[in-house]
């Protein structure tokens, strides 16, 4: 009986004029279905973006924030020019290009360490006959599950000049070699002078780097472990029969076969590290003298501390363009969307 009804419905559909139901085009039905989602997207995504673009061409400030406030003054591309020519007097030492260069250097230097350490530890954990493999893997996952704010606070305390664990540990090691503990009051976060005279990076950069290495390698280890386990043992057996050493097997089998998994992970790590607000804000605060400030922490200061909404909007547009370029490059290298094109 049901089959008969279904068949009659299908016949009715076929009998309708092409592309319409009771005269309504089929495309209209489709649009009606996506309309609720579209309305929400317009309200919470596209409208704020459009409003930000509008703000970036104005001197929007606190006085314009109230819902019944007068509109901001149109300033054309002044905000955009002021940013790239470093004409932001409210923030001392503002240097857009220097900050961008640091942001990129920060990103690449971190990800290189994450990947190298991540792969090495994954290979070690994959070794045959390793005891307590599961325990190690569980411990190594801890940095991922602990909230970044907690990690940042703990590490900041560890870098304390007088009471921090890092300086105390160094003093302990130094004591073995007869070096006075007074030499280990290292100002990890505050020291303005670079520790390496020819390298214009403050000590707080290295403190941040150490912290973020601790934070970032376990993710890469997880990815690499998964990829390692999918490599067929037959490759290694064949290589052994042909006389390949362990080193040759690593560089000619393991690394090339890890590549498809590690490149997307590296790109993801790059984007995350590029925007790593919590860690920098909590550990160094962008200091000393704004030398470890990155784009997202600066955007936060423009809004939260200086209330320069118009300027911050233009800054956000620049950041979006930079991230867009990075993402397009990522997409090109990883061919992540290739199968959908």
């Amino acid at each position: 009986m049901a089959a008969v009804i279904d068949a009659s419905i299908d016949e009715a559909k076929l009998a309708e004029p092409a592309g319409s139901k009771r005269g309504r085009p089929r495309w209209l039905t489709a649009y009606l279905y996506i309309l609720p989602a579209l309305v929400i997207m317009l309200a919470v995504t596209y409208w704020p973006i459009l409003f930000q673009v509008y703000m970036s061409f104005t001197d929007y400030g606190l006085r314009n924030l109230r819902f019944d406030a007068p509109g901001a003054n149109f300033v054309g591309i002044e905000n955009y020019i002021n940013l790239i020519t470093n004409q932001v007097a409210q923030i001392a030492n503002f240097n857009f290009w220097g900050m961008l260069a640091f942001n990129l250097f920060w990103t690449f230097s971190n990800v290189i360490f994450h990947i190298t350490i991540g792969i090495l530890i994954a290979v070690l954990l994959n070794a045959k006959g390793l005891w307590f493999r599961g325990v190690y893997r569980a411990i190594f996952i801890l940095p991922i599950v602990i909230p970044t704010l907690v990690v940042a606070t703990v590490w900041k305390n560890m870098f304390d000049t007088d009471f921090g664990a890092i300086n105390q540990a160094l003093a302990g090691i130094g004591g073995i070699f007869g070096i006075s503990p007074d030499n280990f009051h290292i100002r990890w976060i505050d020291q303005v002078d670079p520790p390496i005279s020819w390298l214009p990076l403050p000590l707080s950069y290295f403190a941040l780097l150490i912290t973020n290495i601790w934070l970032g390698w376990p993710f890469m280890t997880i990815i690499a472990t998964g990829a390692l386990q999918s490599i067929s043992k037959e490759y290694y057996e064949a290589a052994s029969i042909d006389g390949a050493s362990g080193r040759q097997q690593f560089f000619n089998i393991t690394l090339p076969l890890l590549r498809p998994a590690m490149i997307p992970a590296a790109m993801y790590g790059m984007i995350v590290t590029f925007n790593l607000f919590n860690l920098i804000y909590m550990v160094s605060g962008g200091g000393p003298l704004r030398q470890t400030e990155i784009l997202v922490t600066t955007a936060f200061r423009l809004v939260n501390e200086n209330r320069l909404y118009g300027l911050a909007a233009a800054f956000g547009i620049y950041t979006m363009i930079i991230l867009l370029v990075l993402t397009l490059l990522t997409n090109r290298i990883t061919k992540a969307t290739e199968s959908y094109v």
Partner: protein, 397 residues
Amino acid sequence: MKLKAIALLTIAMFVATACGGGTSGTTGGGAAAGSIKGNITLWHAYGTGSSEETALNGVIDTIKKANPDAKITVLQIPFDQVFNKFQTEAAAGGGPDLFTAPNDELGNEVRANLLLPLDDKLKGKLDKVAPLGVDGLKVNGKLYGVPMLFKAVALYYNKDKVPTPPKTTDELMTMVKAGKTIVQNQNGYHLFGWPQAFGGKLLDDSGKCIADQGGWADAMQYQLDLKKAGGKFETDGGRADTSFRQGQVDMIINGPWVLGDYKKDLGAKLGVAPMPTGPKGKAGPLTGVDGWYINNSAKNVDGAIALALAITDAVGQKAYADVAGDVPVRTDVTISDPLVKSFADASATGFARPQSAEFANYWGPFGDAVTKIIEGKSTPAAGIADACKAMNTANKK
């Protein structure tokens, strides 16, 4: 027998607490019973567990008991977020009915039309408030808050190590050279008081920075000399506090908001004195006024004003002075604690915090100048000149 003694002691403590007048739970605003009505949301930014929070909670508890028709909701906001959060929410028509904070952002908030002018509502109700307290909450001649406390930094000292505090900058230098230690917060706020002692002035009448015309560079040179003699500078306020509270340093310059906490650690050893006088006169720490501000979008304006007046009445301010060591703005509140009295003296000689748009651009350039100078990356004269130039550029002066 032992249990009985403990039970009796406990009962005695309860009775003493109930009858006494100096603890948090029993002091409080003496609002006329039943004068506060409706739902009122209040924000504060006192630290969790701090003596100021304890004082406020005690005052609010008393007010709640006397005003059963009022439903008062208290929300704590972290201090570094309170202004931004209020401004964002109030602008959108939300936020609390009232909130308390120093007058740091008062000018900006008034210019953004976020606060309710209170001249008419408070007419005749602030007679007992010191004029400096009322003036501190005025912008362009209009009143925008109910004054509560004065806030200015002074010199804390450990009496065991510094029996007599330094009265002049020369005395302080001599002490430090002789081995006494002082720690200072390395920022534009805590060091603001020194330039006035060396004849420095930040702004002229038109709002133009004139710090580069003398005094400021001398004050910063003095800081460098102090550092060379053994004075410490900290960018982390918590670390500076800890070193003083643990007795590792003998003196620190800080505000009354930490008095209650310092007392817990140092007790009778704690002393407070105004910042030392310099060659050109008294030091001029930035004197702020903590007030209660009424949101322009408040849903219960009358309730919020009545609550603010209740918190800031003589009983409420006395509670703040006794529990938290804060300096009341009312002239009819007797300060019994000599340490709080010292802060009152420091506030009286301080530099009233300007509410101008120009002053808002002090913090970035001068905060940076302080770091550069103290860290030896810039000379005092060059650092101050650069900061002044940046401030004038930002202010289009």
